[in-house]
Symmetry: C2
Subunit: 199 residues, 2 copies
């Protein structure tokens, strides 16, 4: 019984190791590689190696960066009194898109005992070191999940004695959503977070 030639089989195996890529997708990706120009394949391979070589964590905020400290931490025009705590670099990028001009701290995940992730696996010690008298507010921008919730409670307990103002971003109805499609948890959060209307 003939199978794919060895180098093609190997390539499919390599693709299968990637997250979210099953056997069928791996096969499709491999055929794509054989179809496009050698130039294109070289570009993809080079960009993987280049990213792997140049990208590291900022030693201050732990964002992904190619220089240390990162672009944001080195930016003199930023408001340094406010630190927004996020789980992952992609959450930081999401907040950046809102036009927020403060600083960040990337935890590297959330407390999740099921995944074996405790507070000691997150960059919490590093966060505490950054809370000096110059910092007036820590914004917790964690995911609205059990893990994000647990992490927020843990951080709140830890930071409160330091006398810094601790806030959390609001959880509620997303803009454009239909109220009758919202799940009860979201509506509960939206009600809890209600504010007085100031006319």
């Amino acid at each position: 019984m003939a199978e794919y030639a060895e180098s093609l089989r190997k390539l499919i195996e390599e693709f299968k190791k990637l997250p979210g890529i099953g056997p069928k997708s791996a096969q499709r990706l491999a055929f794509h590689i054989l179809e496009v120009s050698a130039e294109e394949v070289k570009k993809l391979a080079a960009s993987m190696l280049e990213a792997k070589k140049t990208i590291r964590h900022c030693s201050v905020c732990f964002n992904l960066t190619d220089k240390d400290p990162c672009e944001i931490c080195a930016d003199k025009s930023r408001e340094t009194k406010v630190i927004t705590v996020v789980e992952e670099p992609k959450d930081l990028i999401a907040i950046e898109r809102t036009g927020f001009r403060g600083l960040y701290h990337v935890l590297g995940g959330a407390i999740s005992p099921l995944d074996g992730l405790g507070p000691e696996n997150l960059r919490i010690k590093e966060l505490l070191k950054r809370i000096t008298s110059k910092v007036s507010e820590v914004v917790l921008a964690l995911n609205p999940s059990t893990e994000g919730e647990a992490t927020a409670i843990y951080l709140h307990k830890l930071l409160q004695p330091l006398g810094v103002k601790i806030t959390r971003i609001a959880y509620g109805l997303p803009v454009g959503a239909d109220m009758d499609y919202a799940d009860p948890m979201t509506l509960t959060r939206a009600l809890e977070g209600r504010r007085e209307v100031n006319v």
Copy 2:
């Protein structure tokens, strides 16, 4: 507004070019690359370049191969009287799994005017050249789609004058399927392909 560092942004862009990979998957793949060992990334990059370099089409059957003629065409123990015509190399591999021991011809697709694919874009001339007096049967194993159908009709017309026996694989209920879940087209095919029961 800070974005991802350049080499990371580039990597995400490269991943987005792959089939079936949207912006979110591209981001996830890029983070995966940053997470795994440099060794792993090098293996993936090398296997892409290696496959691209070594894999080509067999000059006889147009299967993907790292030697020419391919393993199957070069196999002296194969039944050379029967040629099974398939659209793509992955269809060939599927037929191989059944234990079929004849030869193949890979068309490189099916006739699809909407995609700008006419008979001249398929390896039909090359197939005709292979139909010598030594070939007794051509099995059309094309997809049960409009394109596969059109290609089968076209090939049938073309091959009939050559006096070779032309057959098509059966289309019907897949093994293990529930009859009441089968779509009408499949059931139509199953009825058309009915055979007398020989006890």
